[in-house]
Structures are given as C-alpha cells and as structure tokens.
C-alpha cells in the first residue's frame, strides 16, 4: 500500500431509506490519508447519510466502502475505530468530563493510570485542563463540543468524522473553533471528514471539499479550484456568491483565446465572451456565472463596449470592509440583478438609481448549462 493510495474509497455507493428516493446515489469518492475533507451541500443533500454510512450507522443499499482497500461495508461501527463528533455533542450526562473522555479507553481495556494520562493529555489538547471533574451540564456549549472532540480523539482513531459539530455555537465561537480544528488537524495529521452546509466554514478549514446536491456529488476539489473553477452552475451558486446571466451559446471562438464561447443574452445587448466550463454545444441554453469581485464598474459609457452591459444601481450594502452594489441589467429580459463588490474608498462608487456600465472579463465569466 503506497502513501498515495486513498484511505477510504466509496465505490458506487447508494442509499435509499424507503426504496423509492435515493438519499445518496452513485457515490464514488476517495478520501486521502491525512486530509481535511468537507462534505458541503444544502440541507437534505445526503451529507449526513454519507457520513453515517462511513461511520457504520447506516448500511449502503448498493456499492461498497473500502478502508485501506478492505471492504468495511458491513463492519459494525464499534469495530471501525473512527471518532465521531455530533452536532448536539452526544456527551453522556451521567458521567463527568473525565469519564466521558475515558469511555473509549475504558471499553478498550486500557489500564487506569494510562487512561488518566491520556485523558489529561486529550483535555489539555482541547484547552480544558483541570475540568475533568466537572459535570457535563455545567459546561458551556463550546466547552461541551471540546469535550466531545477530546473523546473522539483520545483513542487515536483512524479517522475523525464530524457532522455539523459547530452548528449550535454562536458565530464568534464558531469561527474561533474553526481555526482550532484546523490547527488540531495539522498537529495530529489524522484524517478529518467534516459535514457542513456552511460554505464559508468549508472554505476556511478544508483541504478538499465534496459538494453535494440532491444525493449526488457535484464536484470534489481543492477550495481554491472550487471557487475559481466550479464544475457546475450549482457549485458556482452554492460556493461563494456569483452573478448568473442567462442566455444562449451564440458561437464558439476559435482564435481569441480558443475555448471561448459567445453568450447571447437577449434584447439589443451585445454578446458576452466567457469560458466554456461544460463543453456546451452552440445553440444551447447557458448561464454565465461570475464572482462579484471580478465585475468592473464604469460610471460613463465606455468607448469600447465589448463584454459590457448597461445597468442601474438598485442599492448599496455596507459590509464594513467593502461595499456591495446590486445592479439591475436593464437591457436584458427580466433585468437580472448582478452583485458587484467594491472597496469602500473606490472613487466610482455610485448611489442607488445611478446608471452604470458593468464589464465582465471573459477569463472570469464561466458558462454553465
């Protein structure tokens, strides 16, 4: 077994609870040794079901899960050696903090004094030194989640699985815990599989992200690739903000640069050039997607109107570190709204009602089906 071989492979895994609808379908997914992989997707997209199959709480209806090349599809959860952290913490209320953390060691028959040493080390790792004798109900939500984390790590599991572990915490604490989790992952080198519906959380922590929609994995990629080169319209819309302009593929450019399509957006507006993200045939319906920070704002009609559309500012939203303009593309049917990100001190920031021109750089406008 080489170091590059994946730790876990999902091979054609599907799960249905009622025999009709697939909660997860045709899942092929590799989890690499030591990586921080996040399963990201909207509610009901099958993330938790996937994690539950990995943990052994649910059995796949079809397909196999391999751990180091060995099928574990039917291995019961208590023989998998995975640490699991739940959203509601799932601490044992009848045991104190130390006994909670010692539980996995105790069921493995670790000697008492070794247990105590390992529990102390695990509590220190999550910065809860000296709280071992507390009852779990006496701890704050953040502290309870740390105890759950210590309990899932203390027995040196082969992998740590977390299902929305920070979902119940307030924003500030959540962001703080994200940084700590990331640091912990770097320090321990254990494989983390993390479930969340929060795309910013996924981008902050992960090495790679698997984006789920309706039971299907849409894209598995590094976070920067996911943001810069989303594989589908769903990913473009779900990961980060993006403006979507519907239209039709009018032509394929052969020269300038190759692979560029022309998108006819309707009305009298000029066509826009963009990157072909999905090998679209000419004549098919397509949507141009672009990140808010990539759109350029012009306050006067440009001499060269290539890739430029007229718009009217609908409102400006103050974000503290930047401004966002929401602009209606007035020349287009239904006047779709584009979101533009501007620095606070930008000279050309326009007020609501002003007429502007938006330029969409062809390298950053990606065309999806």
């Amino acid at each position: 077994m080489t170091d590059t071989a994946p730790l876990v492979r999902f091979v054609g895994v599907g799960k249905t609870f009622d025999g009709r609808a697939w909660a997860v379908r045709a899942l092929d997914l590799d989890i690499r040794r030591g990586e921080f992989l996040t399963l990201l997707g909207p509610s009901g997209s099958g993330k938790s079901t996937t994690l539950a199959m990995l943990a052994g709480f649910e059995t796949p209806s079809v397909g196999d899960i391999l751990l180091d090349g060995v099928p574990i599809t039917r291995t019961p959860p208590h023989r998998r050696d995975f640490g699991v952290v739940f959203q509601n913490y799932a601490l044992f209320p009848h045991l104190d903090v130390a006994a909670n953390v010692a539980y996995p060691l105790d069921v493995r028959g670790v000697a008492r004094d070794a247990q105590r040493r390992q529990v102390d080390a695990a509590l220190a790792m999550v910065q809860l030194d000296g709280l071992g004798a507390r009852r779990v109900q006496q701890l704050s939500g953040g502290q309870q989640q740390r105890v759950a984390l210590a309990r899932a790590l203390v027995f040196s599991p082969r992998m740590v699985l977390m299902d929305e572990p920070l979902g119940a915490l307030d924003k500030q604490l959540r962001e703080h815990m994200q940084i700590e989790l990331k640091a912990l992952h770097r320090q321990l080198g254990v494989t983390f599989v993390y479930v969340t519906h929060d795309q910013s959380e996924a981008l902050t922590m992960s090495d790679r992200v698997a984006v789920f929609d309706a039971g299907r994995v849409q894209q598995v990629d590094r976070v920067d690739r996911l943001y810069e080169a989303p594989a589908s319209r769903f990913v473009a819309g779900f990961v980060g903000d993006s403006t979507q302009i519907p239209g039709t593929v009018a032509a394929r450019e052969t020269t300038d640069p190759p692979g560029t399509l022309r998108l006819a957006v309707g009305g009298a507006a000029p066509t826009l050039r963009g990157v072909d993200a999905e090998a679209l045939p000419v004549g098919s319906a397509a949507v141009g997607c672009i990140r808010p920070e990539r759109i350029e704002v012009l306050t006067a009609a440009p001499a060269d109107a290539t890739d430029t559309l007229a718009a009217r500012v609908v409102d400006r939203v103050y974000f503290g570190d930047h401004l966002r303009l929401r602009c209606a593309l007035v020349g287009l049917p239904d006047a779709p709204v584009a979101t533009v990100k501007r620095p606070l001190d930008h000279a050309a920031v326009a007020n609501a009602g002003a007429s502007v021109w938006l330029r969409f750089p062809p390298a950053h406008l990606r065309l999806h089906a």
Binding site: G56, F57, P76, R80, F82
Partner: protein
C-alpha cells in the same frame, strides 16, 4: 444616564414588598384548592389520626362513669362514686343498640363483660327493685350484690381505658404491642400477634409486584419507544386497557384464566409441561399476577416518558467509541432512564401498598393485605378505633418508605 440614587435598605424593602405582593397573589389563586384539600384530605386524615387514639363510643354512652373514673389510678380501690355513676348512666341509657356496642367493646378486653353489662342494664330497666337496685338513689354496694363480677377490677379498668380521652391501645395493637394492667407496654405473645405479619405481607406483596412490573415493563416500554408514532399509540392502548376495565371484570377474567380448569392450566397440561393443574388463584400467585397486570401501566408510562427523552445520538456515540450495542445499551442508554425507573417504582409500590379489591377477590385468607383489615374493622367488626389505627400504620409505613426512597433516589438520580 445614571440611575437615581437609592440607598440599599430602601432597595431591599422595595424588593421584599414586590415579593410579598407576588406571594399573596399566588396564594389567592390557589385558595379554592387549599380549601378543597383541607376539607377532603386534611380533615379526614386528622379525624383518622384522632380516632386511632380516642374512641368516643364508651365515653358518650357512659358520661358520668367516664368522669368518675378519670381520677382513678387503676391501682387504688375503686371509688364508690364510680359505682353510683355507672348505675345512673345505665338508667339514663335507653338505646339498647348503643349499650350493646359498649358491651361488645368491653367484651373485647374482658371476656364475659358483655353479658354482665347487658344483664345489669336489663335489670335496671325492667324490675330494679327485684334486682336490689334503687333507681332514685343508687347505692354503691348494689352492683356487686346483683352480680359478683362487678367486684373484679379488670371490668372497671376496661371501662376506664375505653372511656379515656387518650387511648393508645388500638394503635399499639396495630403494631402487635399492648399495655399490661399496670400500664407498661409489652409485646403481644407470638401466637396472638397478627398485624406485624400482615404488615410484612403487605410490604412483601407490594415489593414483588413492583419488581415484576419493572421486569415486564422495562422491555415493553423500550419496545414501544422504538415504534413509529402510530404503532406506539396502538401499543399504548393495549397497555392501558386494564385501566379502562372495571376491577370486577378484570378479576373475573383472571379467575377464568387461572382457575384449576382454566385456560392457563389446560394449555400447560395440553403442552405436556405439567401433569397436575397448578394452584394459580386464591393464593399469593393469583394476587401477584393480577396486581402486576393492573399496575403495569403505572410503571410503563413514566419509563416511556424517560426513554423518549434519551437523545438517539447517545447510542450512536457509545457505539462509535467502541462499545458493542449491548454494552452501549447497558452503560450509556439505561442510566439515562433512571429517573423513569425511580418514578415508576415509587408509583407502583405505593399504589400496591393500599390494594384491597384485587387481593380480596383473587387471594386466599392468608393473602389479604392491610387495607383488607382496615375495611374489615370498619364494616364487619364496627371497630373504628382499630380500623383507624391500622390505617395510621399504613400511612406511616408509606411515609417512612417514601422518605427513605427520596433520599436514595436523590443520591442515584442526581448524584455523580
């Protein structure tokens, strides 16, 4: 803006005033309930306690005698005033049922006292002169002249005892104690003692029923807690069915099932498990079976409530941490249901302590519980003092057990 300056005592006074106002408001709201409870609970229990140590029967029938005997120390010679007072009282008593009651009561203490009292009363009312009595000016010596048994101090001691304002005899008898002639307290001889055994039997049957209810109810409640809501509702109806059936119908059903020629015995014989029919009814077995059946819902309901409140992720967490399912169930899941177990055990045990109808219908003579004797003394023996004394013992036993239990339950449920 700074708040207006207020000194601490003024602030404390304001807080106290506010709290008082709230308390008063609350009391006003529960006042009707308090009155209701006072009339229907505290008053009867108070009467019961009083009745257990004071029976007005003798004192009201023989008021003058009671007064004359009040000062007597039961050792010195009997004052003549008492002999005169008794004749006056018997002459004044026209209701023979009332005198009959007194006579029966005294007969319980001194065998033969009944015929003595009734004979004297009849003689006084029919032909006093012939019997040597003078109704207008009773003479002290006339009683002993009429019947020599009046010379026996035991008869007078019995009258004095039963007429006294405070008479602990019934209460003592209920715990197998009695006062000897000198007023000292002694154990009732083993062959005469009964109530100690009955109390032990009551506690024993209740404990057995509670244990059986827990043994049967725990898996049942667990099973129901795993069902989807609609099926769980159906299962609950099945559990609650005995609740909605009359006690008599239930008892009759158990007779049909458990008697010598009943369904259970026939089935067991047909299956070749036993050769002779088992005695399942009109004995302890029948009482325990039917009481368990009736009380099972009181165990299942609190258990179910506790089990439904256990988060399902706890089992998943325990299993993921390396526990096989059974170990996870015992070490993590079951401890979460302790409060439900505590509530169910308490409820069933205390209800079982007071059971009357079921043992009366399905038990033998040796299976009757304390409440049966309360009813018996109240309805058959017409001895309210004894009935109340037994009820007080039952109440006291319940309170003592409850207090002990609270202490134990607090330590196990809330403690570390």
């Amino acid at each position: 803006m700074t708040p207006p300056a207020v000194d601490a005592p003024t602030l404390a006074r304001a807080v106290r005033r506010e709290r008082r106002r709230r308390t008063a408001g609350g009391l006003l709201l529960v006042a009707p309930l308090l009155v209701f409870l006072g009339l229907t609970l505290l008053l009867p229990i108070g009467t019961l306690l009083a009745r257990a140590v004071h029976d007005p029967q003798v004192a009201t029938a023989l008021p003058a005698t009671a007064q004359a005997l009040d000062a007597w120390d039961r050792v010195a010679p009997l004052p003549d005033a008492a002999r005169v007072a008794l004749q006056r009282d018997l002459l004044a008593a026209t209701d023979d049922a009332r005198i009959g009651g007194v006579a029966r009561r005294l007969n319980g203490d001194v065998p033969g006292a009944r015929s003595l009292v009734m004979g004297t009363w009849r003689a006084l009312h029919h032909d006093p002169a012939a019997a040597g009595f003078d109704p207008t000016a009773p003479r002290a010596a006339a009683l002993e002249a009429f019947d020599a048994r009046w010379a026996d101090p035991a008869v007078w001691i019995a009258i004095a005892r039963n007429a006294a304002a405070f008479n602990p005899d019934d209460l003592l008898a209920a715990v197998d104690l009695r006062r000897d002639a000198q007023g000292g307290i002694a154990r009732v001889p083993a062959d005469e003692s009964a109530f100690g055994r009955i109390l032990a039997r009551t506690l024993g049957v209740s404990a057995a029923v509670t244990a059986l209810c827990l043994l049967l109810g725990y898996p049942l409640a667990w099973w129901i807690s795993t069902l989807p809501p609609q099926r769980a509702a159906l299962a609950m109806i099945a559990v609650l069915l005995p609740f909605w059936t009359s006690v008599l119908v239930r008892a009759a059903a158990w007779v049909v099932l458990l008697q010598r020629e009943g369904l259970v015995n026939q089935a067991l014989i047909a299956a070749g498990v036993i050769a002779e029919p088992l005695a399942l009814i009109f004995n302890r077995t029948g009482v325990v079976i039917s009481m368990t059946h009736v009380l099972l819902p009181f165990m299942v309901l609190p258990l179910l409530a506790a089990m439904r409140a256990v988060p399902p992720t706890l089992m998943r967490a325990a299993v993921s941490l390396g526990s096989p399912p059974l170990q996870a169930f015992v070490r993590v899941w079951m401890p979460q249901t302790r409060a439900g177990v505590a509530a169910g055990v308490l409820l069933v045990f205390i209800l079982a302590l007071g059971y009357y109808v079921t043992p009366a219908l399905l038990g033998g003579a040796d299976d009757q519980m304390l409440s049966y004797y309360v009813a018996r003394y109240a309805n058959v023996e017409i001895d309210w003092g004894m009935a109340c004394a037994l009820a007080v013992v039952l109440l006291a036993a319940t309170l003592v057990l409850y207090t002990l239990y609270r202490r134990v339950a607090r330590d196990t449920v809330l403690g570390a």
